[in-house]
Symmetry: C3
Subunit: 137 residues, 3 copies
């Protein structure tokens, strides 16, 4: 079995931001020399997520608005008694999920034609890490 | 390490439909000859999902209604400026998620007694693909 | 390829409960002897979930309240015609998801500093199983 692990660090300008990382995931897979396997893409924070969807700016704005509707900022979050102010970012992380697994077939990411891998930052403006791990043969 | 990859294509009659694919996933695992490993079941579209839940028709109708409540069709989706009309299907995909991983133990899907794997179509009436990939030994 | 499979059983006092199982997952990984790989943590029931988030009691109470808002108990669930009363637990399972995958790097769970693995019980007070499966080398 082969494996390859890489870490990315993001430091976004805005509190919430959606970054297409498909190229970086594909590079790790190419570097791994794996023909058949899986690659895990996982945020290492509890206020950021990873998802697969369309690289379309209108849709990304829709997603951002929808997440704020379903998991809005609330000044009365119990979590804020700790001094934090990012309770909503934890719930957005749970809704979107913090990881995806992409199949590797014939040495390439086996994604559909419109599928792109996104890092979703919900509490940015500071360094945040993500792990990409490929295993296979 | 062994691996086995199969693709399914769905062309549903209705726009939204929920299809039990547990038998097809089990077949891929049987064909793979893998005793211990994992199988990834992943929609290759951004308007379809995969989930594990109960094969109970009332529940499936509850799930469909609930998804329409949390991620309803909206005529004012920014995504619709592209000419598309399926903005809600993208959000339903994010809510349900597009993939599951099932453990393979002693050559079988290691699911609980009520767990069934479902393909969730949110924008059907056209060919849509799904990938099943097993790895292990 | 190495693999290791363990099952945990929970029998919670309350209907809904959130249990930190990071230590138990780390133990399976240590026992597996795997240096590089992945570990799957998956509820074997359709009314329980697994998620990764912060070990902070205020946040866990926020999460519980939020899940009840987005997937509330409804006496008119179609699923209840079967005699069940846990329709909401199925929807909470879909929202949180029933599994996570954690990377194994240098023989350890490759989690961020605040990431903890939680078992989320949505219909407890009876024995419920979870599978932990590590693969790698």
């Amino acid at each position: 079995m082969k494996s390859k692990t890489e870490y990315l660090t993001f430091n976004t300008d805005r509190q919430r931001e959606y970054i297409n990382i498909t190229g970086q995931v594909a590079e790790v897979v190419a570097d791994s020399g794996i023909a058949e396997g899986m690659v895990l893409v996982s945020a290492m924070h509890i206020t950021a997520g990873v998802f697969v969807n369309d690289a379309e700016s209108g849709l990304l704005a829709d997603i951002d608005e929808w997440l704020e509707q379903l998991a809005p900022f609330r000044s009365d979050s119990r979590h804020h008694r700790t001094g934090e102010t990012n309770g909503d970012a934890h719930l957005k992380n749970l809704l979107i999920h913090h990881e995806v697994i992409v199949p590797i077939t014939a040495g390439e990411l086996d994604l559909g034609p419109w599928q792109q891998v996104y890092y979703a930052e919900f509490d940015g403006r500071r360094p945040k890490r993500l792990v990409i791990k490929a295993i296979g043969e």
